[in-house]
Point group: C2
Chain length 217, copies 2
């Protein structure tokens, strides 16, 4: 994440400040961080169903709502001092499923409307978004850092929400509707920025390995 992202550090800190009391409230209701992770995933599943049914505004609201749980679980875990390695694993893998199912839903909705470009862009946005997460995890499995880049999850989520909202407001993705253009634009920007991020992470890995090598000579 960090300085290259278009969501500033201040915005991040402010959102985190807003989220912490909600996370603590959820904790008082007896919810564990892992339960919040699972609820967030289920809401993403609902967003996918809405997208499959071409209910784009509902899908946008659910994507944003589900995505905010991504901050709640981590926030609660930190606040309760319950950060565990299994929690980190579950959070990361279920976030990927959550992101993935939403795109599957968009493929379904677009494809059913005969909007082939939208279906293809949704699949491509899913693959490139996964690549962002995968390059980081793979880098870390090689004991390197991989968290650089312009389009981590929060950014992709904002782009997707905007694309879905505009698609919903401008006629959906029915043949001839302008919503097709908005959704294509949103998904296309995710595809491009996520792909750039994956390349940035690859170069970052290369740089670290070169520095290590020079360090040992």
């Amino acid at each position: 994440m960090g300085d290259q992202s278009f969501v500033s550090q201040e915005t991040r800190a402010r959102v985190r400040g807003m989220v912490t009391p909600i996370a603590l409230g959820a904790g008082k209701l007896g919810l564990t961080p892992n339960a919040l992770t699972v609820i967030g995933f289920l809401i993403s599943g609902a967003a996918a169903a809405a997208a499959a049914g071409q209910l784009w505004l509902a899908a946008a609201a659910l994507v944003l709502f589900g995505g905010s749980f991504d901050m709640l679980d981590g926030g609660l875990a930190r606040a309760q001092n319950r950060v565990t390695r299994f929690g980190a694993f579950l959070d990361s893998t279920l976030d990927r499923w959550g992101e993935g199912v939403v795109y599957i839903g968009i493929v379904a909705g677009a494809s059913a409307a005969g909007f082939v470009v939208g279906a293809v862009l949704a699949a491509a946005a899913a693959v490139s978004s996964f690549q962002v997460s995968y390059t980081r995890a793979k880098a870390e499995s090689l004991k390197l850092h991989g968290e650089v880049g312009i389009a981590p999850r929060a950014e992709r989520l904002v782009l997707l929400t905007i694309g879905l909202v505009l698609a919903g407001l401008d006629g959906g993705v029915l043949p001839g509707a302008r919503g097709q253009l908005w959704l294509s634009l949103g998904l296309g920007i995710i595809l491009v920025t996520a792909s750039i991020t994956a390349v940035q992470r690859t170069l970052h890995v290369k740089t670290q390995l070169r520095n290590e090598e020079q360090g040992t000579k």
Copy 2:
């Protein structure tokens, strides 16, 4: 991988034995392991283009051909003693792109033919396949093992090839063609087995963490 997979250890060893001389031959032609990785990805891109054009038999042949490079690069790196961490990183990430683009191509071909179920299953197979790779990388980033499960990449590749071949032989995915059923079956089995594999890896991570915890008490 290992014993749970439906491709036996003997078959694996036999394929590796067949591949090693080819890998060494490629090395004599001046190709580096990383060059083989990139060529394999480009062939997967060609497979994606074939699938997008609904040329299912060509797509099947290219998927298999591109996938075999996956063994060549590792084989050559081992034979030449050129196993590097960057090579491992590039191999893993480009393999994911290669797998991903093929599914994007299938989404395009199916969607263009009005085969909505095929487009959705292709997107779902892509997401679940990615999850298999991601759970392993994430586990390894937490210094745990994650290579268990019934459907690693070689298995998924075989299933996809069979599905594409049968779809090509049985009328493609045009409305009413039986090829729709074969492709749906192939993709559906990948979706189910890959999802099971992701769950197996998650449980494997949980077991390892529990064992570690009991070890430290």
